[in-house]
């Protein structure tokens, strides 16, 4: 455990009856980082957060906060405030009283309580709503109250459980930058649980991807996006074309993946046993289209165009390869301008060998 570790999960397991919600969790949260825990529903991400908050007790293993085991500490004795998916603001208290709540529970005097609440109301730009009832606030204002209510105790760590899921798209983007700035300015460690890739990747310093109670990969958004560690992660992100085959040593030094669509070269180092099964991913933005078979590359095959999807500045072209595999190509509109994009048209797919990423375990 290094000096900048704030939280560590050591062999943490959580069972609900016979259901294994979290299995063997071993990871660390660094001081001052923005960590996103991402996965589909039921993957154990919320259970992990709730164990850290002290709302669930681990069945096995140890959770340490600043080096000390906190397994047996009730949630009200931990400084691990949480922002809830429903926000869980107290409807019978006004904005100021909501923000003061945690201080009042800690026995902070009235004057001091008011002063500290005032600071956070000001910081979250909700001073003008201080005397309002919660029911009179908009969604974005409620978010700010929830943040102020949790941060008023100036904790080392803030837990967030999908707090933006109820907001509309525009407000969501705005709150993302509010959260990111707040985290940077305060230096408080944020642990943010979400099922949304765009939220996790736009805010987090590191992302944990969970599936079926296990961690699939931990890394920076860049690392995870470019070099998914498993086929699951690549499929979960959905931004790569995935090829399955057996590895061979290439005649020009690199390695070659023998797939039903052809033999594809990759620039990566030959870290794997020739003859073993492997998966290769190529980002859809690094996959190119051509009308003529490009010369000088082996990484090419033909596919039939089946659809086009307009996504703002870019478009995604869907094609069907022989054998039925779906191929995605994402390009800017100017790059697509010269191509005859018609449904049913045969086009050549190609990519640079250095853009192929090989995952050892198939």
């Amino acid at each position: 455990m290094s000096r900048d570790t704030l939280v560590s999960f050591e062999g943490v397991v959580k069972r609900f009856g016979n259901f294994l919600a979290v299995q063997k969790l071993d990871f660390e949260i660094r001081k001052g980082e923005f960590l996103a825990i991402m996965g589909s529903s039921g993957c154990g991400k919320t259970t992990t957060l709730r164990m850290l908050a002290g709302l669930e007790a681990p069945s096995e293993g140890v959770i340490r906060l600043a080096g000390k085991p906190i397994n047996d500490l009730p949630t009200w004795s931990r400084d691990t405030p949480m922002v809830w998916q429903s926000l869980a603001l107290f409807p019978f208290l006004n904005v100021r009283e909501n923000v003061e709540f945690a201080l009042k529970m800690r026995g902070v005097g009235k004057v001091e309580r008011r002063r500290r609440a005032e600071q956070w109301l000001d910081r979250m730009q909700i001073t003008e709503f201080a005397e309002r009832n919660i029911s009179q606030l908009s969604g974005g204002q409620r978010q700010r109250v929830a943040l102020a209510r949790s941060l008023v105790v100036e904790p080392e760590i803030l837990l967030l459980d999908e707090p933006l899921s109820a907001l509309d798209a525009a407000l969501k983007v705005r709150m993302q930058s509010v959260l990111k700035n707040l985290q940077r300015e305060t230096g408080i460690t944020f642990v943010y649980v979400t099922h949304s890739q765009s939220e996790a990747f736009s805010m987090a310093d590191r992302v944990v991807i969970m599936s079926r109670g296990k961690i699939e990969q931990i890394g920076t958004p860049q690392e995870i996006y470019r070099t998914p560690r498993s086929r699951f992660v690549a499929e979960f992100l959905g931004s790569s074309n995935i090829f399955q085959g057996t590895l061979e040593r290439g005649d020009r030094g690199g390695i070659v993946l023998d797939t039903p669509l052809g033999k594809f070269e990759t620039g990566g180092p030959a870290v794997v046993q020739p003859g073993s099964a492997a998966t290769m991913t190529v980002l859809d933005t690094k996959t190119h289209l051509a009308t003529e078979r490009p010369s000088g590359t082996r990484n090419v095959f033909s596919a039939r165009m089946v659809g086009e999807e307009f996504v703002g500045a870019t478009a995604t072209i869907y094609l069907e390869a022989p054998g039925g595999q779906e191929i995605r190509v994402q390009k800017g509109h100017d790059e697509l301008a010269g191509l005859p994009l018609e449904i049913g048209r045969e086009l050549f797919i190609h990519w640079d060998p250095s853009d192929g990423h090989v995952i050892a375990q198939a």
Binding site: L55, W76, A88, F92, F101, M105, S135
Partner: protein, 273 residues
């Protein structure tokens, strides 16, 4: 009814439904209204045409020490029953809200059972039981019996309110540093307050009006409804109408208060220190 400009509503049906409601209420309230009218009538017997307007019967009951004694008993019993039933009902409702345990369905069924037992049976059973443990024939026995009848109402009312609470509210308070007791005091009780007051008024009203059980167990400490029966057995007097009107207005006030609290925005004044 302003639904006539609504495209999807039939005017004839609207009028028929309106008439149905008026008739149903008329059927329910006609006897009470009659009692109300005759309580201000100077004639000895209820008959049409009416005599003169008079407050004689009210004067008569105000002078009757027996009525005063009954009213005092009723009030004393009612207030205590309201407080105790509401406290018990709150505990039972919170237990149901907070905990999962085997046999919870049985627990709920038993907790809500007493009002479904015919009151005659309940009164008889109470009398037999309370006299066995030497508690019959006084105000305490009426209180105990009425709590048995009223607590389930309180529980049902408070349980409904708790079911409207965001399940994250209580853990959110814990997470912000409130122990379980502090959360009870600063979150659960304030949130439930409209229902707690509602339950208090309704259980008081039920106790004021309850006759059968009180008749069995009250002994010499008769509540007002039991006294009324005593009057009726002796003589038919318009005083009964006056008492009836008085009790009716008192009960309705309580029920209306409860209804306002329960259907309001649920906002109670914040807990200030």
């Amino acid at each position: 009814m302003n639904g006539s400009d609504d495209l999807n509503r039939n005017r004839a049906v609207d009028w028929a439904l309106m008439a149905y409601i008026v008739l149903a209420y008329a059927f329910v309230f006609a006897p009470i209204a009659a009692s109300f009218v005759f309580s201000f009538n100077s004639d000895r017997f209820p008959s049409i045409p009416l005599g003169q307007f008079s407050l004689d019967w009210y004067r008569a009951i105000a002078m009757d020490p027996l009525v005063w004694e009954g009213a005092r008993n009723t009030l004393f019993v009612g207030v205590i029953v309201g407080v105790v039933s509401t406290a018990l009902g709150f505990g039972a409702a919170y237990t149901d809200y907070r905990y999962m345990f085997t046999g919870k369905q049985v627990y709920l069924a038993l907790a809500l059972l007493p009002p479904t037992i015919p009151v005659i049976i309940l009164g008889l059973a109470m009398l037999a039981y309370l006299s066995r443990i030497s508690l019959s024939g006084n105000a305490l026995s009426v209180i105990i019996s009425h709590v048995v009848v009223c607590a389930p109402f309180a529980m049902a009312i408070i349980r409904l309110r708790l079911s409207q609470m965001d399940p994250a509210l209580e853990p959110a308070a814990w997470n912000l540093g409130a122990s379980e007791w502090k959360t009870m005091r600063h979150v659960i009780v304030p949130f439930t307050m409209p229902a707690i007051l509602g339950a208090l008024f309704i259980t008081m009203a039920v106790s004021f009006d309850e006759f059968a059980v009180a008749w069995f167990v009250s002994g010499l400490n008769e509540t007002l409804p039991v006294k009324v029966l005593g009057f009726l057995q002796g003589q038919v007097s318009p005083r009964i109408n006056a008492i009836g009107t008085f009790v009716f207005i008192l009960s309705m006030t309580l029920v209306i208060l409860a209804q306002l609290l329960l259907s309001g925005r649920g906002a109670t004044p914040a807990d200030k220190e």
